[in-house]
Symmetry: D2
Subunit: 366 residues, 4 copies
Amino acid sequence: MNKIPVGVLGATGMVGQNYIALLNDHPWFEVRFVAASPRSAGKKYKEAVDGRWQLARAYTPSVGELVVADANDVSQARAAAKAGSCAFVFSALEMGKDEIRALEDSYAAAGIPVISNASAHRWTDDVPVLISEVNPHHADIIPAQRKKRGWDKGFIAVKPNCSIQSYTTPVYALIRAGYEIKRLIVTTMQAVSGAGYPGPASIDMIDNVVPYIGGEEEKSEQEPLKILGAIEGGAFVNAAFPKISAHCNRVPVIDGHTACVSLEFGDRKPSIEEVKRIWADFKSLPQELNLPMAPKQPIIIREENNRPQPRKDRDADKAMAVSVGRIRPCNIFDLRFVGLSHNTVRGAAGGGILNAELLKSKGYIS
Amino acid sequence: MNKIPVGVLGATGMVGQNYIALLNDHPWFEVRFVAASPRSAGKKYKEAVDGRWQLARAYTPSVGELVVADANDVSQARAAAKAGSCAFVFSALEMGKDEIRALEDSYAAAGIPVISNASAHRWTDDVPVLISEVNPHHADIIPAQRKKRGWDKGFIAVKPNCSIQSYTTPVYALIRAGYEIKRLIVTTMQAVSGAGYPGPASIDMIDNVVPYIGGEEEKSEQEPLKILGAIEGGAFVNAAFPKISAHCNRVPVIDGHTACVSLEFGDRKPSIEEVKRIWADFKSLPQELNLPMAPKQPIIIREENNRPQPRKDRDADKAMAVSVGRIRPCNIFDLRFVGLSHNTVRGAAGGGILNAELLKSKGYIS
Amino acid sequence: MNKIPVGVLGATGMVGQNYIALLNDHPWFEVRFVAASPRSAGKKYKEAVDGRWQLARAYTPSVGELVVADANDVSQARAAAKAGSCAFVFSALEMGKDEIRALEDSYAAAGIPVISNASAHRWTDDVPVLISEVNPHHADIIPAQRKKRGWDKGFIAVKPNCSIQSYTTPVYALIRAGYEIKRLIVTTMQAVSGAGYPGPASIDMIDNVVPYIGGEEEKSEQEPLKILGAIEGGAFVNAAFPKISAHCNRVPVIDGHTACVSLEFGDRKPSIEEVKRIWADFKSLPQELNLPMAPKQPIIIREENNRPQPRKDRDADKAMAVSVGRIRPCNIFDLRFVGLSHNTVRGAAGGGILNAELLKSKGYIS
Amino acid sequence: MNKIPVGVLGATGMVGQNYIALLNDHPWFEVRFVAASPRSAGKKYKEAVDGRWQLARAYTPSVGELVVADANDVSQARAAAKAGSCAFVFSALEMGKDEIRALEDSYAAAGIPVISNASAHRWTDDVPVLISEVNPHHADIIPAQRKKRGWDKGFIAVKPNCSIQSYTTPVYALIRAGYEIKRLIVTTMQAVSGAGYPGPASIDMIDNVVPYIGGEEEKSEQEPLKILGAIEGGAFVNAAFPKISAHCNRVPVIDGHTACVSLEFGDRKPSIEEVKRIWADFKSLPQELNLPMAPKQPIIIREENNRPQPRKDRDADKAMAVSVGRIRPCNIFDLRFVGLSHNTVRGAAGGGILNAELLKSKGYIS
């Protein structure tokens, strides 16, 4: 089978490198186009990342030979699309929000679907923020989006912030099972890779934690409401619940965001056993479609009292599963648990690839 | 002035070492008696801690020359007391709870006041759990305790768990200012020194956090209620509020426990500015008495958005102040903040020494 | 093809767990027998390691169901051997040296070959210390060993200390190419997993290095001389060179030992380019035999000036390759370089498995 | 006594902050002038470092109120000098070497002595590179330097790189005692604070070491030779020995550089006991003059086999002493040991202050 040729925008950055590495040997997609800042443009990819490659996993030799395009120059992608080497792009752009938004629009307008990791378009009312297991039906706003904007083949779909991935899927699983969730207080302990490279200085992360990440609490509180929301008249309407209060911390961990959650149900309250059963049994569309990047079990329950832990659990099921543990009653609300997910895979490039697989399955990319 | 001679039980352990180090140059107290397990008994202190001394700060040469007594043999302490070299003891014993309780009773029965770091007696109904700034009046149960047990000079007073110190004083300051606190959800990120030596394995603390500390959540939820409680009929009665739900985590930090707190007031709710004013102005009996170990300002407000941080703030004011920051409204309850205190100083040996100073000022030791 | 059934002694410890994990899906071997201390004996393996499993990689369900034998009771292994479920054992025993030596002897005497990770038999004069790429011919002492001891099928072969693996293969490659090496000064920075579990306390490994590892410098200086030595009259005779001086340090790294090496050649001195060529081209018997665990390229050269690094390079080629970098002249001797290898894979379980593959290929196990 | 008013150039950077913090309560000097980049110029110091102050130790309120001058504009310092608020400056400038060299020259030409932390002037042949205990007599090149350059009161004196401080004083002590040292191979494990702020990314320093620091090996090999050299005809002539080969590594430690040293004596070789005696007894001019910043004992011997360690030993004697341990024969050369010193105190600001005290005692500043 011929693989679909894909491009990566911001291919030399931290998330871009993760896309490149995760797409090694992907059964459906093949990286044939890479774009980055003007500084890297014109170099071979292997030259552009020389001394800056952050991952244990390497890129393939053929990607190393690709000449880096200038991400600001959409014409290069358009030419690649015409030449059959770029059917859609993953956007891992790192620049100002307004610039990213404009640039992603340009790619879509040029007929190139954009599956983005950036936050720029998360609050655009016709752009879906997808967690493939939670709101795959949100992808179906794409025809309305295309129509409204006069785009033919292009569209924009994004993924949410990495900080919310450790609890949004478990929360959704409970809601889908019929249990309303009213309120949720969450404290995150987030890995340094979430800040890109170089990210936090080592002098701030040795023998220390930093109880603040700019913008992260707002995203953690608001993005789940869009994801859990509805489509009305070609635009998203936020869910009213759960109300979320977030405390976001940076801790000296390479990969893996951990979340300590206390939540309050509505009138119907499941038992702890029922919660575990719901999570253990949870499957969604990516599992039904058997998508290549989909974890077999989106939520893995750890019964040991000291798990999940980032170093031991982040890589579960291709680093795409959310691990939960310490499932117990809350003294104040109803339920407490600890959730953990891999922020640069599940929470970034891996989640983006899964979204692409979903969008292909639904026929939006080809 | 002649200094009061003091003993340290468990002098070779982590907390014991902190007592020894903090009592260097204390204006009122001088370490003249050290006791530890039979393994160390009979050796000079400097031999007993050779290769096991954990602190950057050294012990004084004269303490190094003290011969270590067997902590299980109260007669050695009694002899030291008679010889004028042990007016009271700090207990940093590390053994089973029942053994500690019995042993601390024996010292008190022998006429030697015990100021303990151990958890053994925290729920004994006539033993005060003291944070000198919060419940100094609880010391006044001592006459009833002595009477009930038939002790003459001896008594037992303890300090609470280190995990609660980052939020209990700020919480108390608000209550004292007239604001009822109904509920409080707290997530702690606790330093490894809190587990004694060797404590957590490095393989569990490099690139990792552990979302569990045995017994810590229960202590974090219950101990504040005794501290905020009342004395009735010679025994303590717990406060009914605040209801607390705790998530306790171990993080790769040497010293300094950080707490992320969301709390709900009763009907009267202070503004953020009022909260800050109350904390900035908070002083209590140790400050009024100008006790040597008392921080000038028990609660220090950090206005930077990324503080307090363990490495930068734990040593504030002799490592005895609680630093608070990120004071802001809560989306769900009323107030969010981050509290930080030094667990082996404020939360252990330093807090114990301050308690001793308070008890001396009140005339219970001499 | 039917897989050869193998046993793991000390299966619940750190190295034992690595054996279990690495033998998942091994094409030749299958774990069918596990033995550990009496504390674990009688439990299912999954129960025995519950809450103690240290690795990100999991064990297979079928291994989880194995009932743990008592490693001290050789009759259990003998029964398993008879029943066709234990053709040989990997020894990852953790006990006193004398006990290990005696116990390994008993297994061999019972007809069960022992491929050991322990240091107990490293200086036994008829026991080969194997690095499969360096001294595969040392395996051929086995007939003499069997004869001398009156063993029929059993034998003992061991692997060297993990600390020497980062430089012994590169050193050997140069010697094999005809360049005598006279002297070598090496400073290692070793990972905490090398000390087993729990290993170094986190309080000693956060914001710290420890410039001492008991016994490690002696092993680092002497073991290479046996490995590079000759067989004479059924016993090993050490090589006279290179003379080695080692400084061994523990650093806060999970896996991966790094070595900074300065070495002096004999009269013939290769150029830096020649050194690189020799290392890049180096292959040995495991590569010729295409053994399953053999790295394709035993020595990987990193040209970036800040590599190799443990986190980025330890996993190269199934964590079985040695990565070298910073290849440059020495101001005092002739050559400087940095070597790195994965201590629990290449330096322990992975190296042991490769040795077993070699011994099978040579017909010593079947 | 009136304190001498001093200035700090680059006062907002990492080393500058250390100067500010260490000069709190200095008995001779008082910070009255601070200069930094144009970005900070015009602000109060407390505003300029708001959110950027890296140290646990705070600056004094009076320094906080100083208005930051533009370090590029020497006229501001000249005015301060005239006004009696800047008798000399500590230079902690962070810019290109050529710019620093030119700027430091301008200050000196303006009559303001410059005691510099920067490397710019270390190889200027009439500029002394001072370790106060090692080559205090090198200060006496200042009259020749002034004469050659036509400077009246101004001069330039610098301190060496932080990486050499853990072994240069011990090496010198042996040389002074009459033992020639021919060759020395050293491997350093250096703290992240040595790279300034932000310095190494946390993603490179968690679960990792980096075996490279740009330019550090060259400095480590060459600077000691100037320090141990002689003055001939108003210029420095390097010592011929010891020949040094250095391997420099970055490790996840906040403060404190550790060095593993193997060294070869000339024909006369001291015993290990003699080495210890020489180091234990070593005192030099700063100790004789009883300079405020001088450690009582410049070299502290740790007899425990696992010391010195950065976290436990870096702060010895105001963080100004070098701690040495593991003193033992070398298999290849004659002597092995581990040296440790605090890189931002002894190796930077503290060493600079001690140099200033020395220069004042010698009458070069007043």
